[in-house]
C-alpha cells in the first residue's frame, strides 16, 4: 500500500492510495475516506454512507476489475474542496457493462436472481453522485461524490 498527498492547495487537495487487489484492504480506503469526511465536517450518517460506498467500489475493482490479481493495484484518489469530497477508485479492468439495477429481494428469495450483486446499487443509493467510466486499455474507474449540506439519503 502506498499513500501520497498530491496537492497542498488550501482550497482543494487530494490524497492517493494504492491498494493490493486483496480483499480486506478495502478497509484501508474506507477508513481513510471516513477520516477525511469527518475532518471536512460531514455528519456521521454521511460518513457511514461513504464508508460503505468506498468499500463496495474497492471490492468491485479488486474482484471484477483486477480479477483479484495481487500484482495489480487499485487506486483510490480522494479529492476535497470546500463543499464536496470526491473519491475515484481505479482498476485495470474494462468497467461494468451495465448500469446498476435495484436488487429484487423476491427474485433473490426465489433463486431467480443472484443473492450477490448489490454493490453498485448501494454505491449509487448512498452517495450524491456516482458514475462508472470505462477507458480501456488504461483501465476504468468508479467516481463518487458527497456534498456538504446535501439532504441525507
Amino acid at each position: 500500500m502506498s499513500i501520497g498527498r498530491t496537492s497542498g492547495d488550501r482550497s482543494s487537495s487530494s490524497i492517493e492510495l494504492r491498494l493490493p487487489s486483496r480483499l480486506g484492504y478495502e478497509k484501508v480506503a474506507m477508513n481513510t475516506a471516513a477520516s477525511v469526511a469527518r475532518l471536512m465536517g460531514f455528519s456521521e450518517e454521511r460518513v457511514e454512507d461513504l464508508k460503505t460506498a468506498v468499500a463496495e467500489a474497492c471490492i468491485n475493482a479488486m474482484e471484477h476489475g483486477n480479477k483479484l490479481d495481487d500484482s495489480l493495484s487499485v487506486g483510490v484518489i480522494l479529492s476535497m474542496d470546500a463543499n464536496s469530497l470526491e473519491v475515484k477508485v481505479t482498476d485495470n479492468g474494462e468497467g461494468p457493462q451495465s448500469n446498476p439495477d435495484a436488487p429484487d429481494i423476491d427474485k433473490k428469495m426465489l433463486g431467480e436472481e443472484d443473492a450477490r450483486g448489490m454493490g453498485m446499487f448501494l454505491i449509487q443509493a448512498l452517495v450524491d453522485e456516482a458514475e462508472w467510466v470505462s477507458s480501456p486499455p488504461a483501465g476504468s474507474y468508479a467516481r463518487m461524490v458527497i456534498h456538504l449540506g446535501q439532504p441525507q439519503v
Binding site: 480486506g24 457511514e48 436488487p103 429481494i105 433473490k108 428469495m109 443473492a115 448501494l122 439519503v153
Partner: protein
C-alpha cells in the same frame, strides 16, 4: 490487512409462549469469506428449530457479500418454515437492509428484548 474472523455463537432461549428461540450471535467481519461461519453454522441447526434470532450487535464490518450471505440464510429459513427476527444493526445498516429489501423477510428490532417478544 486480513479480514477479522467471523465468529458465530448459537444459544437457545426458552420461550413461555411456544418453541424455544435459537439465537445466532455474529461478531467480527461478515464478508465473502464468512460463508462457512454464517451458512455452515446455520445449516448445522437442527430441523426442529422454528424461531431464529439474528444478533448483529458485535459485528465490526459488513459488506454486500456479507449481506448476500444473510439473504441466502433467509432463503434457507423460508424453505424450512422458520421465522427470523433481527436486532443489533447500526442505524446505517438498518437503512442498507431496508434499501435492499431484506425487511420484507425479517423485522429489524432495536434490542434483544423487543426482538424476542416479537415471536409472540
Amino acid at each position: 490487512m486480513p479480514e477479522l474472523v467471523t465468529r458465530v455463537t448459537v444459544e437457545e432461549l426458552p420461550s413461555a409462549t411456544g418453541d424455544p428461540i435459537t439465537v445466532m450471535r455474529f461478531s467480527g467481519d461478515i464478508t465473502s469469506a464468512s460463508q462457512p461461519a454464517v451458512l455452515g453454522t446455520y445449516e448445522g441447526l437442527p430441523d426442529t428449530v422454528k424461531r431464529v434470532l439474528l444478533d448483529f450487535s458485535k459485528v465490526d464490518y459488513l459488506n454486500s457479500s456479507g449481506i448476500a450471505l444473510v439473504i441466502q440464510m433467509m432463503i434457507a429459513a423460508s424453505k424450512r418454515g422458520q421465522t427470523i427476527h433481527t436486532f443489533g444493526l447500526s442505524p446505517h445498516f438498518k437503512k442498507v437492509f431496508t434499501m435492499v429489501g431484506i425487511t420484507k423477510y425479517t423485522t429489524l428490532h432495536p434490542d434483544e428484548a423487543s426482538a424476542s417478544a416479537a415471536f409472540g
